[in-house]
Amino acid sequence: MTRVPQWLQDRFPLRELLERHVTEYPAPRNLNYLWSFGALALLFLAIQIVTGLWLAMYYKPDAKLAFDSVQHIMRDVNWGWLIRYLHAVGASGLFFVVYLHVGRGMYYGSYKEPRELLWWIGIALFFALMAQAFTGYLLPWGNMSYWSATVITSLFGVVPVVGEQLVTWLRGDFAVGDATLNRFFAFHVALFPVAVIGGLVVLHLTALHRVGSNNPEGVDLDKHGPDVIPFFPYYVAKDLWFAGLALIAYFAVVFFLPTYAMEPLNWEPPDLLATPGHLVPEWYFLPFYAVLRSVPSKPGGAVAMQAAILIVALLPYLDRSPVRSARHRPVKRVLTLLFFVNFAVLGWVGAQPPSSAGVLLAGRVTTAIYFLYFALLPLLPRFERARPAAKGRWA
């Protein structure tokens, strides 16, 4: 019986891989539940891939057939409605856990040396997920799908000189249409999930396992010392039960409130003649949409929206304090918590019709606060007194 595993072992480092990445990966013993959101992101990604595979078997990426094929899935395909709701709500679930995962990294300084590259791969992953969500949102070919794709692709028109050609190239036509649907489908089911997201996840985990997990105290731990425990069984057991909890919340939405993760307007086929009065992106894009709208010029808004994400990549350099965890930095702690609240308010602003002056003002103020956080970070070490070295754990 041992011959087959041995044959394999002589030709492929299966045991080493498992030891390195699961059974003997040393993890800090003091991780709190916020550290489980990385594993949850992987869980939701797996759910998206499996449900997406089944949807792709019945879906028709053709402007004449797409909308009806979604209803075919909802009405005629056995358990089709379940697969579709799992996929639609799963996208929200994935973004929800990713936001908490990123927020945890910001709060506990997980982007600091030696985890800068890990952080950047994560931001590339976030961009890839946005592209994945955006291309997927066109596929139901509803009214909101159509107009969101029209508005977002038109943003590329602000690129100097080649803007107009770029928009046409992206759409495959002068307006969003059948060609756009076909290419978005190809990107959504082949390129992004397999090559881009899959590849980046492998890079993200590989980099993580080189530098090790940060922890709530933000201190370096000896990989062979008493403060680390093997990932298996300790964190596998912990992440598993926490995943059960997450699944309960997820299933509650899937089975009882699925339409709360979907836009009503998208249950109507595209009306090519009239832009919907109030265009709203999915909730997970709302904060960045609010930034886009808060800048008076279209090119300025598009640049600000990109900058809002890219500036997060600069955190390893903007945050100059030697102390990682906000737990030991009273000023960064308060600022970061305020940043999170402000981010939620930005999301609320993004969901409001932009017509009122109050909403416009709120958008400008929250956008300013968003960027102000990154401007203040480099100045903090000048006056902030980090709590004296919790039990002398850092120099």
Binding site: N30, Y234, W241, G244, R393
Partner: protein, 185 residues
């Protein structure tokens, strides 16, 4: 973590309250009556392509008669609001016709003539039934979904409880805090 937990609970409560406040009776009787109403009245102008009710009028004729093409109603209850609020929208629309010059005080300038006469003593009942039928048309899976969902969540809760016990037993005797011997960083 405490704040997150409180936010999550508040979100759940709100969702349950919003989802449960159904003004439209979704019982099979009400939906059945709504279907009859659709077949006898609504289907004179409206199609429901996903339920096999074809449009009775060519679009040009409808345009001539009403100045508008009567929309397909298959997904109307989904397209006018999340959860049951789309069905409630239909109910409000059907019960808000009046004598004002714009015909309907809640949804002014509708092309659709009064579908249920406002002096019909059963106006509210009929409107509710029509709305219930439109809800069923848009979400044909809703009853199965709720039943299956209850079992799925009960099963997942049981599984989670077992996994929690497993987690507690695996971590028995393992401290969650650092020993104090960590290096500086």
């Amino acid at each position: 973590m405490k704040v997150l937990r409180a936010l999550f609970l508040a979100g759940c409560l709100y969702a349950v309250a919003a989802g449960g406040a159904a003004a439209v009776d979704l019982s099979p009787d009400s939906i059945g009556a709504g279907r009859k109403l659709f077949e006898s009245d609504c289907s004179n102008c409206h199609a429901m392509k996903y339920l096999g009710y074809a449009a009775p009028l060519p679009p040009e004729a409808a345009m001539k008669a009403f100045g508008d093409v009567p929309p397909d109603l298959s997904l109307m209850a989904a397209a006018r609001g999340r959860g049951t609020s789309g069905a409630e929208y239909v109910y409000r629309l059907l019960t808000s016709y009046d004598d004002t010059p714009r015909k309907n005080s809640v949804f002014p300038d509708l092309s659709m003539p009064e579908p249920i006469p406002r002096d019909d003593p059963k106006l509210r009942e009929k409107a509710g039934q029509a709305a219930a039928f439109l809800y069923q048309a848009a979400f044909p899976e809703f009853r199965t979904r709720r039943t299956v969902g209850t079992y799925v969540i009960a099963y997942t809760a049981l599984l989670t409880a077992l996994l929690y016990l497993l987690y507690r037993s695996v971590w028995k005797g393992i401290s969650h805090s650092l020993s104090g011997k960590a290096r500086g960083g």
